[in-house]
């Protein structure tokens, strides 16, 4: 082991190089530009209140985005998260109304999320059905199921537990919304997992090249299965935050949410092809879109312009990223 101690690799330059290559820096610049632009143009944009509001609003997409990104990195897709948001709110609210216990409600919601994740994961990883098809199917099934069960009516949170209300209204040190705190903690935990735990690296390997991963002794199906479970559980957490923010189980909750999250994730440099991207990038992607929509609202632009501009920015950002990648790879 005498050779091992001659640590020829310095961490510094390679880290910086990796940062550039991984494009987080470009995204960060982009985010700063967005914030700077609206700080000058939109009234009241650059205030602590507004900034922390945006963090609270972003907490949904951030939380669900972690799962979305992890599934993407494993080489699959999950577009059922929007419907899942609506689905898990049912056990959450119903159990809380019946038992007046946040713990039981959240437990019920997580159990539901777990079941959905297991179904998505099983059908994809073990039954071998294309994940886009599986999750498109479960998306329809869950949304329809929620409509059937609720008769297309929202279920109010009659229990109105303080702890649940705090999820929506409460702020840590009276500044940062608890929902944002939850999202940030989850982000840190999972970002750490993806970079520094063997399982996180297995996910990258499985998405980067499943055949190689199998030869390296990984259980590819199990890894993918777990990714779907993680995604469903994180979407469940997002669904709980949403239910708190809207004080009810909404049958239309999360409609088109999957599009938002997928767009933000890809904007954040997570490749649909698998194995590429980071949770930090995803988070920056979410924040860019969220500050953008907040800023555009602040400018008083009508919905139609917000849609047009967001659409253009998504295309432009991905096109730019692609151009950059091609320049690096060569050709």
């Amino acid at each position: 082991m005498s050779l091992a101690s001659t640590d020829t690799m310095k961490a510094g330059p390679s880290m910086l190089a990796r940062l550039f290559a991984r494009q987080e820096l470009a995204l960060l610049l982009c985010l700063i530009l967005v914030i700077a632009f609206f700080s000058f143009t939109a009234e009241n944009f650059f205030s602590v209140r507004n900034m922390t509001n945006v963090l609270g609003q972003a907490s949904l997409a951030l939380t669900a985005g972690i799962g979305c990104a992890i599934v993407f990195i494993s080489g699959e897709v999950d577009i059922s998260i929007g419907s899942l948001l609506a689905t898990i709110a049912l056990p959450l609210i119903i159990i809380m109304n019946d038992t007046n216990s946040l713990l039981l409600g959240v437990g019920g919601a997580l159990l539901f999320g777990l079941i959905i994740g297991v179904v998505n994961g099983y059908l994809t990883a073990y039954a071998g059905i294309n994940s886009l098809i599986v999750t498109l199917g479960t998306m329809f099934i869950m949304r329809g199921g929620v409509y059937l069960y609720t008769g297309q009516r929202a279920i109010p949170d009659d229990a109105a537990l303080d702890s649940f209300i705090a999820l929506s209204d409460g702020r840590l040190f009276n500044v940062v919304p608890y929902s944002a705190v939850i999202a940030i903690v989850l982000l840190v935990v999972f970002a750490y997992m993806m970079q520094h735990r063997p399982f996180g690296r297995q996910i990258y390997a499985v998405g980067g090249n499943p055949e190689v991963a199998r030869l390296a002794g990984y259980d590819v199906r199990r890894v993918k299965f777990i990714c779907f479970v993680i995604s469903a559980l994180l979407a469940t957490v997002a669904g709980i935050i949403l239910a708190a923010r809207v004080g009810s189980a909404q049958h239309t909750a999360g409609l088109n949410f999957e599009f938002q999250v997928v767009a933000a994730t890809v904007l954040g440099g997570v490749s649909l092809a698998g194995g590429i991207g980071s949770l930090t990038g995803m988070a920056l992607g979410v924040l860019i879109l969220q500050f953008l929509s907040n800023g555009l609202r602040g400018l008083g632009l009508p919905t139609e312009w917000q849609l047009v501009i967001t659409g253009m920015i998504i295309i432009a950002a991905v096109a730019f990223d692609e151009a950059k990648r091609r320049r690096i790879v060569g050709g």
């Binding site: 294309n130 886009l132 498109l136 329809f140 659409g311 091609r326």
Partner: protein, 329 residues
């Protein structure tokens, strides 16, 4: 069908039906038959002329766009903007009709616009190399916003052209005109995919774009072509829809893209490209719409219209996999 040639390769052709039906088509055909029989036992009105015509008319819109979408997905790309484009096309077509009182000009404007959207998508995907799923989500948002910049209200029918009304509600013999249009477009697309060099290249591009390019074929143009064709199909469907509704509705077409894509996937076309057939898409559309119709005919809760297709898509794909495994094993 291309599919049958692939899946039959390992086993000798055993029966005539096998030549016509590829793997997933067979499963789907059985599902369709079972559905029709079950629904008609429960509700005899299912087989009434009026209902069959209603089903066919509903199928027509989806089938028209699905014909283009099948080609596109075979080249391994996808277009999520078709629903938003459908609404926009109707408004533009109607506005042009109102100002020109010419069906031809209205159609032309609708086709030009929808084709233009396809071209834009195609250029973004082939030139800027943006993943088509993301690119067309972007276009979808732009169109959803753009249509309200174009008109805040539904564009009403001020021209009262009979020929325009016929587009959606007219008949040729006993068959609704939209169905005739859909059949013609379907037939052209099917023949193109099955018998022409163009069709063969579309499969080839989906199967391995680089190999196609090395063979001296301009692969980007093929993808561009598929995007534009999908756009044009949306143009036709948009005009029929606006005729049926007698107005250009900026709110129309919500979720239409998912219905179309679901029908295409259900028909056995692979999202990875290079595999699929229009005949499968036809079956996919029929299954989806028969389910929709059956739920209303049976007086079931309409929310099932979302649940059942979800189950069917997963089930049909799974049965297809099982069948393939059985064939190999």
């Amino acid at each position: 069908m291309e599919m049958s040639e692939l899946t039959q390769s390992s086993a000798p052709r055993r029966f005539l039906g096998g030549q016509l039906l590829g793997s997933s088509q067979l499963v789907l055909g059985i599902i369709l038959a079972v559905l029709c029989i079950a629904i008609s036992i429960a509700a005899p009105q299912f087989y009434s002329e009026a209902n069959i015509i209603a089903i066919l008319r509903q199928c027509a819109l989806v089938l028209i766009v699905a014909s283009g979408m099948t080609m596109l997905i075979i080249t391994a790309e996808v277009d999520l903007s078709v629903g938003a484009s459908l609404a926009f096309v109707g408004c533009i077509g109607m506005a042009v009709l109102n100002s020109t009182h010419s069906l031809a000009l209205g159609m032309l404007a609708a086709l030009a616009f929808a084709g233009g959207v396809g071209l834009f998508n195609g250029l973004v995907v082939t030139r800027l190399k943006v993943n088509s799923l993301i690119a067309t989500i972007g276009t979808m948002m732009m169109l959803q916003g753009g249509v309200y910049l174009f008109t805040r209200e539904a564009v009403q029918n001020h021209h009262r052209l009979i020929s325009f009304t016929d587009l959606g509600a007219g008949y040729i013999g006993a068959i609704p005109l939209p169905v005739v249009i859909a059949v013609v477009i379907f037939a052209i697309a099917a023949v193109t995919l099955r018998f022409t060099t163009l069709g063969r290249y579309l499969y080839a591009v989906g199967a391995n774009e680089r190999a196609v390019r090395l063979s001296g074929v301009r692969s980007e143009r093929l993808k561009l072509f598929a995007f534009v064709v999908t756009g044009l199909c949306v143009g036709v469907a948009g005009m029929i829809l606006s005729s049926l509704m007698n107005a250009g509705q900026p709110t129309a077409g919500r979720g239409f893209e998912l219905t179309v894509i679901a029908a295409v996937i259900l028909g056995g076309t692979s999202l990875l490209g290079g595999r699929g057939s229009l005949f499968g898409t036809l079956l996919g559309v029929l299954v989806m719409k028969v389910i929709d119709n059956g739920i209303i005919i049976l007086g079931w809760n309409q929310d099932l219209q979302m649940v059942v297709p979800g189950v069917v898509i997963i089930l049909a794909t799974y049965l297809d996999i099982i069948r393939n495994r059985a064939n190999v094993g």
